[in-house]
Symmetry: C2
Subunit: 278 residues, 2 copies
């Protein structure tokens, strides 16, 4: 928390030097967030000790500015709505495939937060009754099939079995560590094992997204994160094969925003501070 | 359509005899419905020719009454909201396990219809990348695992293989036809094959419902239809095992309404005609 306050203070000083007016502070964070209270209820495994943390009050007290907080998936959806493909779209969904998988659902121009702020946990849509183990304790979640972490795990497995490297690839012994990108490259160069892993990952993500279509029926799906460009075609294909006819016409786009979660945090500030209520 | 109009006219005559005032007509139907226009866009396989049918105009013209139309799953959710466990609950979901599986999602006290009126197609949530074939053309939908039709199919398969009947069951040769009820009875009497089928069905339905929780995070799940009482315990158990901690506290109740879809159709009439807009 001290580090966050220090960074905020420095950013304020920078802004003053640039002659910028600061409207407020937007915070995008992993885990489950109560945006009305500015409290992180329960965080992801990466920052496990962040549970029931009021992040709004200390920042607000230190900077004398209003503070808004939301989950990073929700923030990414807000960014698409204000700056990206979601502009003017009433119902859409954004899915971020990074280390994990997250996302946000916009319904009637508003985020769905749900009754315990646990909506849009899109990484934990399950597409298998068994399937690979997930960080959440369950199995068969799309995050366990299609996230960067899941692909890296498979890449490492293949590498350990000496099945990953193919002619034309950069020497993996020189690479710092095996990653999802190596898996994608191997598949492109004709490695059938790598292709099979990616096919299953694309299928799992596609089926997960169809589940979203059959539940909230958005008019647009936006993929973002490092793997977005890779997944766009397979996801569109799976939708064509397996969605109900009435959901097949959905557009699947790749985000053209950099850092959508951070842009979304900023958009909360812009939206709230410029909302005319008088 | 003629039959429907004839039945409506008879119902009107009956109502006059009973000295009842008729406020309007509510229609609950299978398939995808545009409730704003009163049009059935696309119907289920059971009544296949009903596509792009304006059902409101002929009824309204014949009876000189306002008409409201919606999908049966959505109507069932409206019924729970007005008369059932959903009274006063802002976010809830209802799931009907009958011949097929349908349902409705209430979010902020309103139905989610989606961008092409295809939301809440809860029977077609997929919980398997392959799994059993579904009527919709895909595979692994919860309807293909847990609907009355799916259980009947499995009951017939076991019966054909002479694996269904166990001591203590009514003689199945005398039974008119093998049904889901026989499967449930066989499992109760210790038939392991029947138990396994039901265990998989309950798991599939439970995982499908968790997918709903992780997407829209309602505070209540209401099961209705003939199989509701049977599924309540397994679904609650699967949620306890596999949902995110923050979604595990959800209540799963069995509906106590008879014919919720029809009650919901009636509730549309009541809600609209008694809504004060002046």
């Amino acid at each position: 928390m001290e580090l966050i306050l220090k960074m905020c203070t420095e950013a304020v000083i920078d802004a003053v030097h640039l002659n910028c007016r600061i409207l407020g502070v937007g915070v995008s964070t992993g885990g489950r967030v109560n945006p009305q209270e500015g409290v992180i209820l329960h965080s992801t495994k990466l920052i496990q000790e962040w549970s029931s943390i009021d992040i709004r009050t200390p920042i607000s007290d230190a900077l004398h500015l209003p503070v808004w907080v939301d989950n990073d998936g929700n923030c990414a959806a807000l960014a698409e709505k204000k700056f990206g493909h979601g502009k003017g779209v009433e119902n859409f969904v954004t899915i971020i495939t990074g280390t994990g998988i997250g996302g946000g659902i916009i319904q009637h121009n508003e985020l769905i937060h749900g009754s315990t702020f646990c909506a849009a946990e899109l990484g934990h849509i399950m597409v298998s009754l068994d399937g690979p183990e997930c960080m959440c304790g369950s199995r068969g979640c799309i995050e366990a099939y299609a996230s960067g972490m899941a692909l890296q795990k498979e890449a490492k497995r293949l590498h350990d079995e000496e099945l990953l490297e193919v002619d034309g690839m950069v020497d993996l012994k020189k690479a710092e560590s095996v990653s999802a990108i190596h898996l994608i490259n191997a598949a492109r160069l004709g490695n059938h094992k790598a292709e099979a892993v990616l096919r299953t990952a694309g299928m799992a993500l596609g089926v997960g997204i169809i589940n979203i279509l059959h539940m909230v029926n958005p008019s647009l799906v936006i993929l973002s994160g490092v793997l977005a460009a890779h997944y766009q075609a397979p996801v569109q294909q799976v939708i064509g094969q397996r969605a109900l006819t009435s959901a097949q016409s959905i557009q699947v786009l790749t985000s053209d925003l950099e850092e959508p979660a951070l842009l979304g945090a900023a958009s909360m500030v812009l939206d709230y501070t410029t909302r005319r209520i008088y």
